[in-house]
Symmetry: none
Subunit: 419 residues, 2 copies
């Protein structure tokens, strides 16, 4: 069974709101194992809504719409659906009573334009709305099915779950379920990752494997299709093991795993603690580490030492180091990491110093030059990076690289510990 | 000029990510006064991407796409665009050099599949990518124009702003010019702001005024339509003055003004400096303050004092205060703010302590309880807040409220100074 989604509303075309209904419906359809090839958004215009509905109905077995069922003049979905199916709009008594009841219970008077919401295309399967006023409806015509839901997210979700999902499952008859699992990685680029598993990507059938990247964080999504959840999981597991065994050093975890979370887990495994010394990242590393609930177990404190004065006073960076090598240098990064570890009395110290720009760069040290250091029980590890982009991206990439340096240092440490 | 947007990526059809690129592009096109009738989303499938592109190009003058420009096998936008325009893909030297430079700067090896990103349809206007790897391109064929951008939001936004927007403005040529100016506010809710100017919103014609809200930050966008830039500006200015005079205490500035930027300006006006003491925000306030270029002029340092031990040691919070009132209390917030001001020797000290959750709440102090204090030359100002939401939202709302408390304290201070 193939489905399409048509979301209706000029505010969507003006970018005034993000189309969360479309992503909700898309995810629900995927979970039901229903394929989706196109998603269309159209404004509150009678002809264009008609055009979008006909087009979708010609490509798909089932079309779901959101929006345009309200009482106002620019709510046109009922009219457009009726005309595409060549049916008249008729007053539905149950729908009208539900509306009257809705207003009665709120002690409000039902204005005339609300009656409009109870006029549905002839032959509609009415979807009652227990969350608001506009009823939804399902229209069938031979192989074509159209299900129209209101645009208010709580109403759309409630009505999809209560009426549309069961209807679709019944219509599809026995069929397949889709289950996805996402594997998260860091410290490797999207293309290097794809390179490492390209034979698997080439031979994939069921489950399928697809790579994604977002801000220094790459993912592989495994998707299995089978008659039930258990069989899907059984198809996914060996593929996950196979991918992880190849990419172990970069693997953060599954379904929503984060770099800061992986670092936290490693710290707790070692009963270790960390303190951070941030210059160019200005607190972003501390912010990310403390986004993980329970981080107080291993994160004790951080110093945002923006000025040289602060680097000296709180981290004990020698004035001579700053003078000879400059604030953005390996020597300063090492001194900051060891200094914060000593000052805070933690197992690990993580330091970043760099030039986020736009000013402050030089030929020798261009904007984007960043020095990282992770100091631990077995010594300190330094990295120099040259990041491109604007100030905020350089800060974000620096924080990402610093957390990954700590992750790798901890991992190495954990493995040495295992031996 | 009529435009359409085609967003490309199976993850969009599976509902795994919300399509924020589409809403961003839609809002930008609206601001340029370019009409949009349809928005389509299609998966990473060669035939369907082609179908969606041809269809959009038959309905619109300009089609913008996002996604499918990466190095992996399922990135197909270049190929589909080339075939729709009947052009070959050619290696673009500049694009290749940019790519090689990108990897060189990072000390990484460019894998073979990355070269693919430098192969663009013959006759493309190349859009350089200063934020990542994949170049974009613009293709023209008689009246039809196609502009393809990567799916990574920072790259898409940067490239749209730098290359596509100017191109579209030029293409639209003479005829009405549209100029928008956005006024930024904080410390007031969207509905309260709308209420304060609802008469203006009701009578607006040219320029138009539209309110927008996003995460504790509300905006009014003034859009004027006229024969040239100068006339537009002349229409906008009196409206800006009128709106600002009503909302002065909340006004941050125009076009991309930020709360942290407004705070920075006020600090520089006073030749004042600030240091932060962060508990539940974990460094987010320092991160935001240092997102403003040149912030080193007024931001000296910050302490992320997550543990009580750190609050005592670095901020001099008395153990008795922590014992009697708890770490999340007015007394502790005041002590942290005065303490960090003293320790860092700055004009101002800004402190936050609270419960971000999900654990750590109690009947007396539920999750979301946050105490803020801004200590300055004329004393300290305290606020208690109860924020709803998840851990990250509570951190973000706390940082927003803390920065706004400092802004209002500084403003008051500046005005007293004027008198």
């Amino acid at each position: 069974m193939k489905a399409e989604i048509v979301t209706i509303g000029s505010e969507l075309l003006l970018g005034q709101i993000v189309d969360t209904n479309a992503s909700y419906l898309a995810a629900e359809l995927a979970a039901l194992g229903i394929d989706m090839h196109f998603k269309t958004t159209v404004g509150d215009n009678w002809f264009r809504v008609q055009h979008a509905l006909s087009q979708a109905l010609n490509r798909a077995d089932v079309v779901l719409t959101s929006g345009g069922l309200g009482p106002t003049m620019d709510d046109l979905t009922r009219e457009a659906a009726a005309s595409v199916f060549g049916r008249p709009l008729l007053l539905d008594q149950t729908a009208l009573e539900d509306l009257e009841e809705f207003f009665r219970r709120r002690g409000r008077v039902m204005t005339e334009n609300n009656r409009k919401q109870a006029h549905l295309p002839k032959g509609s399967i009415v979807i009652r709305n227990n969350w608001g006023t506009a009823p939804g409806f399902i229209l069938e015509d031979g192989p074509r099915t159209l299900a129209c839901l209101p645009g208010v997210p709580t109403e759309l979700k409630g009505m999809f779950h209560a009426a549309v999902a069961p209807y679709l499952v019944k219509k599809r008859g026995e069929g397949s379920v889709i289950v996805s699992r996402t594997l998260h990685f860091s410290g490797i680029g999207e293309s290097a990752l794809e390179d490492a598993v390209k034979d698997i990507l080439a031979e994939q059938t069921n489950p399928t494997v697809a790579p994604y990247a977002s801000a220094g964080h790459v993912k592989l999504r495994i998707t299995a299709k089978a008659e039930n959840q258990a069989v899907c999981e059984a198809l996914i597991q060996p593929m996950e093991d196979r991918l992880v065994s190849r990419l172990e050093p970069y693997f953060l975890g599954v379904n929503g795993a984060t770099l800061e979370g992986a670092v936290g887990d490693l710290l707790q495994k070692r009963q270790a603690t960390v303190a951070v010394a941030e210059s160019c990242t200005g607190g972003l590393i501390g912010h990310r580490l403390t986004n993980t609930p329970g981080s107080s177990a291993y994160f004790s404190c951080g110093f945002i030492t923006y000025s040289n004065e602060a680097k000296k006073r709180y981290l004990g960076v020698p004035g001579s180091t700053l003078q000879e090598h400059g604030a953005v240098s390996e020597a300063t990064a090492r001194s900051m990491a060891n200094g914060v570890r000593k000052a805070a009395g933690t197992t690990w110290g993580l330091a970043v110093t760099g030039i986020a720009g736009p000013a402050g760069g030089s030929a020798a040290k261009p904007v984007g030059t960043v020095h990282l250091c992770a100091a631990g029980p077995d010594g300190a590890c330094h990295e120099e990076h040259f990041f491109r982009g604007e100030r905020l991206q350089i800060k974000e990439r620096s924080a990402q690289a610093a957390l990954d340096l700590l992750r790798r240092s901890l991992q190495k440490n954990v493995e040495e510990h295992r031996v």
